[in-house]
Symmetry: C2
C-alpha cells in the first residue's frame, strides 16, 4: 500500500466518502488510489471554484466534510474564493492539495508556489504531510480539524513522494473535540438580561438556525419579550411553513442601523456583533447602538442547541408558545411582467416540501424572505463570505448530499458567470437542481453603490465595468453548452409554467428569467 492508498483508506474510515476533484499530474497516484476504491464518490468540477463551492454545499447539508482534490498552489488558488465562503459558513471541508515531490521543490519548477501562504487566509488548519507514513495520521487530523465545531476548513498538503512511497502506518481515526459548553455564570448573565425588561435582541447563527433549536429560541423570546434575529449571512437556515420565522440583520447599513435601533442588550448565540459589510464615509462600522450591551452567550464553537435548551430552562420558557408560521397557508402566484420579486414569489409558492433553496441572487433577492415565509418547509443556503461565484457550486454540492431533495438555486447573472462550469457537473451527475438566473444584465448592486458615491450618472467607463450587456449573455445556450436543459421566460406566466415543469421532473434545468 502506498501513501495515496493510505489517504484514501483514512478518509473512508472517517466517513469522508465524497471527493470533489480537479486533479493534475502530481495527484495521479491519489487518482489511481481513488480508482481502486469505488465506495469513494468522485465528482469532477471543471474549475476548482466549482470543486470547493460544491464541497461547501455538501458540507452544509451533510453536516460532515467532503474532500476536495486540488492541483498545487494554482489549483488551490482557483478554489480559494469559495473556501472563503465555506469558512464564513463554518462548513467542514477537507482539502487535499497536491504538491511536488518534497525533493523537487528546491528546483522551483514552473508550478511551484508557497502553498501554505495561499492556504492560510482561507483555512482554519493547514498541515504539510511529511512522509508516506505520516499520511494517515495527518489525514485523520485533517478530518478532526474539519469536524471541530461548528465546522472548519482543513487543508492538507500532499507531496507526490508521500503519495507514491510505501506506507505501513495503520489507518488513523479522527477524534474531533466535543463542542464547547457554555459556563453557568454566562448563562445566568444571559438569563438576567432576558428578564430585566430592557430591549433585547437574541442574535442567532450556525446550528441555532435549525428548526428545533430555533423553536427553543422562539420559546425563550416568547417568555422574555426579547426579539429573535439571525445574522446577516448564515450557512444554513431551516425555514418555511410550520417553522419559526426569523429576520436577518439587513444588508444595507442604513436598514441595519434602523432594524437594530433602540436595542439595549444583544445576546449572541453563535453569531457575531453586526458590522457593516463595507465601510462608507460617514457611516458606522458597528451597526448596534453605541450604548448597547453585548453578551456573548455562545461562540460558534459551542453546542448551540444545548445552550438554547439550557437557557430555555433557566428562563422558564419551556411552556411558552413560540411564534410559528401557520402551515397550509395558500401562496399567491405572481402575474404580469417578470421582476425579481415575482420570480421569488413564484418560487415561494411552488417550491416543494423539503426543498433546498440556494441563494446567490445578490441585490435581486434582497427581499426574498418576504415571499418565502410560508413556502413549504425548506433549507435556505446563502452566500456567506461575499465572494461571488458560490451559487452554482453550492447547489451542486447540496444536491450531491441530498439526492432525494429538490434544489432550487436563485442565481444572479453576474455572479453566476463566475463558476458557470458547475452546470456541467450538474449534467454529468444528473443532479436535481433547478437554476433560476435573474438576468438583469448588470452588476445591479454596483449601480446602487456607484450612486451612493455621488458620482452622478455613470459614463462610458463605469457603464462598461458595471453592465453585462453588449452582448447580453445567453443563459439558455450557456446551459445547453454544458448539457443542462434550459429555457427563457420574460413574463410571470411563462416563468410559472417553466418552473412548474422543471420542478415536476428530475435532473438539472435552468431558467433564464429576464427581469
Amino acid at each position: 500500500m502506498n501513501g495515496a492508498d493510505s489517504l484514501c483508506d483514512t478518509l473512508l474510515a472517517n466517513d469522508v466518502d465524497v471527493c470533489f476533484a480537479n486533479p493534475g499530474t502530481s495527484e495521479m497516484h491519489f487518482v489511481a488510489a481513488l480508482d481502486r476504491k469505488p465506495q469513494m464518490r468522485c465528482v469532477l468540477g471543471l474549475f476548482e471554484g466549482v470543486v470547493t463551492g460544491a464541497a461547501d454545499g455538501y458540507g452544509r447539508m451533510a453536516d460532515k466534510p467532503a474532500a476536495t482534490l486540488l492541483h498545487l498552489g494554482p489549483g488551490l488558488a482557483n478554489g480559494l474564493a469559495n473556501l472563503h465562503n465555506a469558512r464564513r459558513a463554518q462548513t467542514p471541508v477537507v482539502n487535499i492539495v497536491g504538491e511536488h515531490a518534497s525533493y523537487h521543490i528546491q528546483y522551483d519548477a514552473p508550478l511551484t508556489t508557497d502553498i501554505e501562504s495561499l492556504a492560510r487566509p482561507m483555512s482554519n488548519w493547514v498541515r504539510r504531510i511529511k512522509s508516506s507514513d505520516d499520511v494517515s495520521e495527518a489525514a485523520a487530523a485533517a478530518v478532526a480539524a474539519a469536524r471541530t465545531e461548528p465546522g472548519r476548513i482543513a487543508t492538507l498538503i500532499l507531496p507526490a513522494d508521500a503519495a507514491w512511497g510505501q506506507a505501513s502506518a495503520p489507518v488513523s481515526r479522527a477524534q474531533p473535540p466535543a463542542p464547547g459548553s457554555v459556563d453557568e455564570a454566562t448563562l445566568q448573565q444571559a438569563r438576567e438580561a432576558l428578564l430585566n425588561g430592557r430591549r433585547t435582541i437574541i442574535l442567532l447563527s450556525g446550528k441555532a438556525l435549525r428548526a428545533g433549536p430555533l423553536e427553543t429560541a422562539a420559546r425563550i423570546a416568547a417568555r422574555s419579550g426579547a426579539r429573535l434575529m439571525a445574522q446577516q449571512a448564515n450557512g444554513r437556515m431551516e425555514r418555511g411553513a410550520g417553522r419559526v420565522p426569523i429576520e436577518r440583520v439587513p444588508y444595507p447599513v442604513d436598514a441595519a442601523v434602523k432594524a437594530l435601533e433602540g436595542t439595549e442588550q444583544l445576546i449572541l448565540i453563535g453569531a457575531r456583533t453586526p458590522v457593516a459589510f463595507f465601510a462608507y464615509p460617514g457611516k458606522p462600522s458597528v451597526l448596534i447602538p453605541e450604548a448597547c450591551e453585548v453578551i456573548t452567550l455562545a461562540s460558534p464553537a459551542d453546542d448551540l442547541p444545548q445552550t438554547l435548551e439550557r437557557l430555555a430552562d433557566a428562563v422558564g420558557a419551556n411552556g411558552a408558545t413560540p411564534i410559528q408560521v401557520a402551515e397550509g397557508g395558500r401562496l399567491e402566484l405572481p402575474t404580469g411582467p417578470l421582476t425579481a420579486s415575482s420570480v421569488i414569489q413564484a418560487i415561494g409558492a411552488l417550491s416543494p416540501e423539503n426543498a433546498i433553496i440556494c441563494d446567490e441572487s445578490v441585490s435581486s433577492g434582497r427581499d426574498s424572505f418576504k415571499w418565502t415565509w410560508n413556502a413549504a418547509p425548506h433549507d435556505f443556503l446563502q452566500i456567506t463570505g461575499g465572494a461571488i461565484g458560490i451559487g452554482i457550486p453550492l447547489a451542486t454540492g447540496a444536491a450531491v448530499a441530498c439526492p432525494d431533495r429538490k434544489v432550487i438555486l436563485m442565481q444572479a447573472d453576474g455572479s453566476g458567470m463566475y463558476t458557470v462550469q458547475g452546470l456541467w457537473t450538474q449534467a454529468r451527475e444528473q443532479l436535481d437542481v433547478v437554476t433560476v438566473v435573474f438576468a438583469n444584465r448588470r452588476y445591479a448592486i454596483l449601480h446602487n453603490e456607484l450612486k451612493m458615491v455621488g458620482a452622478g450618472e455613470p459614463g462610458r467607463n463605469a457603464r462598461r465595468m458595471l453592465n453585462l450587456d453588449e452582448p447580453s449573455i445567453d443563459w439558455v445556450h450557456m446551459a445547453q453548452a454544458a448539457g443542462v436543459e434550459a429555457a427563457r421566460a420574460s413574463d410571470s406566466a411563462a416563468f410559472i409554467d417553466l418552473l412548474r415543469a422543471a420542478l415536476a421532473r428530475k435532473g438539472p434545468f435552468l431558467i433564464e428569467a429576464v427581469i
Copy 2:
C-alpha cells in the same frame, strides 16, 4: 481630488492606460475616478482569472504593464492562477486590489482576508497604501516595480478610505531601475566556453527570443558551433519564416534528457537550468547531464539583447551567417480526418503575416513547432506557469494590445473551460481573435500521466475525473452564449474552410475542432 483620482492620474502619467477590471463595492470610488478619465481604457472581465490573464497577454505584447482592478482578497484569489503564469512569463502587471477602509478591517466583515498572504506567492512586489497622500507615490513605485527588467508582478492594496480621502500629493513618476549589465569576467568566461570546442548549448529565454537578439544568438552559434535552445516555457517568442528557428527544451522528462544528452557546457541567457515540470519516481529533477558545467551569463534582470551583442563581439561572430527559415516556402494543407496535428498544420499554413499565436493546447500542441517553423512570421505566446486557464484571457489581452494584428488561439478544451468567461470580453471589445478549441473531450495529458503511474486501465473513478464526456461540452453553444460566433469542424476540409473564413473577417470567432 481624492485618492482614487490620484491613482488614476498616476497610472496615466506613467503610461498605464489600460485597466482590466472586475470591481466591487470597495472599489467604487476608483470606478468613479476611472469614469472621469476616458483616456483610460477599462475592459471588463466576467471573472478575475480573465482580468489577470488578459493583463498577462497585454503586457507580453505591449512591453508595458496594464493595471488590473480586483475586489479584495477573494477577487485577487480568483486572479492568482493567471498571475502565477504572468510571473513565470516575466510580464509587467500592476494589480490594484481594493480593500476595506483601514479602520474597518478590525471588525472582520465578511470579505476581510489577509490580502498580503494571498498576494505574495504570485507577486514580486506588494505594498499597502497608507493614506490618500501615499497613493501617488505608491502607484508610481508599483509601476516602477512592474517595469523592472524583465517585467514583474506588482500588487498594490488600496484601502477604500485612501481612495475616497482628499489627496494633495503631486503625481509621482515611476523610476524603474535600468536592466542589469553583465560583468566582463562572466562574458569572458562564456566566450572561452564557446571557443573551447566542448559540446555547448546556449539556452535562451525572455527578450533573447525576440527576432533581433535571436539572430545575434544564431550568429554566435554559427561562429562557435554551440547549439541554441529556448527554455521549455517562454513568455514570447518571435518565430516563423525569415527568423531563426529554435527548439524548446521538450516537456516530457525522457525527451528532455535525451535532447540535452552529451551537453558539456550550458550557457544561460535569461534562462534557467532545465528541470522537470513534475517529479517522477526514479527520474531526475535536473535534466542536464550531471557533469555539465553551467555558466549563468545573464539573468532575466539583465539586458539580454545587449549581452548577446557583446558576446557576439567577443567571439567574433558578427560576420557569421545565422541559420534562418527561408521565406516564402509553401506550406501544405492537411487532408483527411481532423487530428491535433492537422489542426496545427492548417494554422501554420494559413496564419497571416504578423499574427499572434497563443498556445494553451497542452498535450494536443506538444509538437506544434513542427508545423509552424515556416509559418508567416508571428509571435508565439504560451502557458508559462502550468496553471491552466490562461489561453482565452491571454489571447484577449494580446488583442487589446495589438488591435491591428490577428490573434490565433490554440486552446485545449479542458483548460479552456477554466476561464471560458473571457470569450464574452472578446465579444464585448470586438477583439480580432480566432479561438481553435482542440475538443478531445478529456484531460488527455492526465490519461498519459495515469498510464505512467502504472495504474493500468482507468476504472470508473479515474475515468470520471479525467474525461470531459457525459456530456460533451458544446463549444459552439458556449461561444454563442458569450456573443462569439462559432462553428464546428470534424474533418480537415471543413476545418480549413472555417479557419480561412475566420481569418478573413474581423472580430472574434471560435472553431470547435473535434479531434
